[in-house]
């Protein structure tokens, strides 16, 4: 077994645990959103699109990780799940901005903000670390899509080698 394969086998369980934890939190958020929405309150409408998109992205990512752990990274289902995860997660940081702005405005309107908890979004989001973190969170789903392409190519190569043998 190569060094990369050993590293992958060590990292995949860690990643599965982290994504399952995130999925659990998102699931609780989703149920909370739906409950709030059933009472006809606004925050549910504001956060529901982001929660659904992020949940779907992490769902496919977890599926890809589990399949990669059990059957190896070159299984065809890994690349298809990764591609879908990338496509869903790409929209997650983009939807987060209107969601946070909407929630901030709603909290201000309802008077739930104290001076210290107010986000002061224009200045805050223009600080370099927040801005760069946001760009990084958009680039990672693009990498997932690119990775699914590489995996397809690797699997096709493996099939050709088996056929030749």
């Amino acid at each position: 077994m190569t060094r990369s394969r050993r590293l992958l086998n060590a990292l995949l369980p860690l990643l599965i645990v982290a994504t399952v934890l995130i999925l659990t939190v998102l699931g609780v958020l989703l149920i909370g959103d739906l409950l709030v929405l059933s009472y006809g309150d606004w925050p549910g409408v504001l956060t529901l699109p982001w929660t659904v998109v992020t949940f779907a992205g992490y769902w496919f990512l977890t599926l890809a990780l589990v399949v990669a752990w059990r059957r190896g990274p070159l299984c065809s289902r890994v690349s298809s799940h990764l591609s879908r995860a990338g496509q869903w997660l790409f929209w997650s940081p983009l939807l987060l901005i209107p969601t946070v702005l909407g929630l901030d405005r709603l909290l201000t309107v309802r008077g739930w903000h104290t001076d210290s908890s107010q986000m002061h979004l224009p200045g805050e989001s223009f600080s370099p670390d927040v801005l760069l973190s946001m760009v990084v969170s958009v680039t990672l789903p693009l990498l997932l899509m690119a990775l699914s392409g590489w995996l397809d190519e690797g699997r096709a190569s493996l099939d050709r080698q088996r056929t030749t043998i």
Binding site: L15, L131, V136, L143, E153
Partner: protein, 143 residues
Amino acid sequence: MTLTPLLRTRALTCLERLCQLGLLLGTAALIYGLTRRGWSALPQMLLGSLPAALALLFLWRAARASRQGNLSVIPREVALAGVALLAGQVVPALLPLVTADPLLLASSAGLLVFSSLPGVGLLAFAAVLNVTFQVLRDEELTV
């Protein structure tokens, strides 16, 4: 060109431009922050934004290497981006160890599981790329 290479090419082109844009915007935000808060805020802003800036730089180099067909470089650059992101998350999370406040320690450990996902993910990503490129190299050698 079939759908998968097209998707990969588009994603990589988009990634390369996004990394350039991110680095430019980061520099602009740094200058804007300096004009608002003064030079005394420079070390704090640099330390805060350095991991993400390094990650973007390495990802940009990986995307450029992919466009140039230089496959052997890509896993190394992706792994370096992962290490940069991981260092940016792990070091602040370990700071409560100094204060030894159990509540802070527990909360930072919980946050660490979530926040280390991109860094660990990129390291796994680099390992997958190594495995895949090894298969492609094997085919070239066989041919």
